[in-house]
Amino acid sequence: MHLDADQLLKLSLDLLEADELPAVQAHLASCPECRSKLAQWDGDVKLLGSLRVSGDPIPMPRRRAVWIIESPFLRAAAVLIIVIGIGSLSVSSTLRPPAHVIPDTVAVRPLPDSVLHAVIDGTEVRLF
């Protein structure tokens, strides 16, 4: 009595129940015909998983920021630059004079006579 197609397929797919396995294996050991059929099933199963499709290349994404984080030297350099940057900003902001001065009072001087008067055709004229 040979193994049937379902048994061979289950064996090929590793689906046989544990209690079925010893009898099936014992039969295979003594039956070249079933071994041949099993090899054919194995080939067919392998064929179903053999599709391969070529396509566009997949370039490696560049992760420079991560390189800096992962490198101890670059990490220390980055921290140093940040600290120096923050430090220089705080120092420059404390020393810098205020940009605009708004006076509390404004002194007003009287305009001189040369501005207030003019002589036109021999006649003195008051402008303001």
Binding site: A5, D6, L8, L9, K10, L13, L15, S36, K37, Q40, D44, V45, L47, L48, G49, S50, L51, R52, V53, S54, G55, D56, P57, I58, M60, P61, R63, V66, W67, E70
Partner: protein, 180 residues
């Protein structure tokens, strides 16, 4: 060198390690994404996204394989794409990798592979998903049960019938020999 070692080197900027990793998995995963989504364009985008995630994601445990991790990512992205488009396009213009040395043998081989692709694509979607996860995603039956939210017995049954259906179709087309 293991895939995990290659990944670690790629993360440190080694182009060679990256190329080796991509070469080992891209063609298989591209086929997987195509079989799930039915779209070459979508499959290409999914593949690019999966590899970018592989490089940028922190994978805390390395019990599984890089191929399995990529398979799961491709599966999830492909499923999302299929649900978004809600349609399965016809298998179109497959450009299979030619591993044959002779052009005529390569031609025959391509024809057979096209038949295989068509047989898988024509399966009921539940059977096809399980078969693709098993053969292209490198997943165990238990992992497939987890990914598809069905009992493991159902997964085994679906894969059994998927293979049987494909084999019958390919045998009738003369791609496979009838032995039983």
């Amino acid at each position: 060198m293991s895939d995990w070692d290659l990944l670690e080197r790629a993360r440190r900027g080694h182009d060679g390690a990256w190329t080796e990793l991509v070469s080992a998995h891209a063609a298989r995963l591209r086929a997987m994404a195509m079989l799930i989504t039915g779209s070459r364009t979508a499959a290409e985008d999914i593949l690019q996204e999966s590899f970018v995630r592989l490089l940028s994601t922190t994978i805390r445990h390395q019990d599984g394989t890089v191929g399995g991790w990529l398979g799961t990512t491709v599966w999830r992205l492909s499923l999302g794409e299929r649900e978004r488009t809600q349609k399965l396009h016809a298998i179109e213009s497959f450009d299979f990798q030619d591993e044959a040395t002779s052009p005529i043998v390569g031609l025959i081989r391509d024809e057979n592979l096209r038949s295989v692709a068509a047989a898988i694509a024509q399966l009921p979607v539940e059977q096809r998903d399980c078969l693709v996860l098993r053969f292209y995603g490198e997943h165990s039956y238990a992992e497939i049960a987890d990914l598809t939210n069905v009992p493991i017995g159902t997964v085994k049954s679906r894969i059994f019938h998927a293979v049987k259906n494909c084999r019958e179709k390919l045998r009738m087309e003369g791609v496979l020999e009838a032995c039983i």
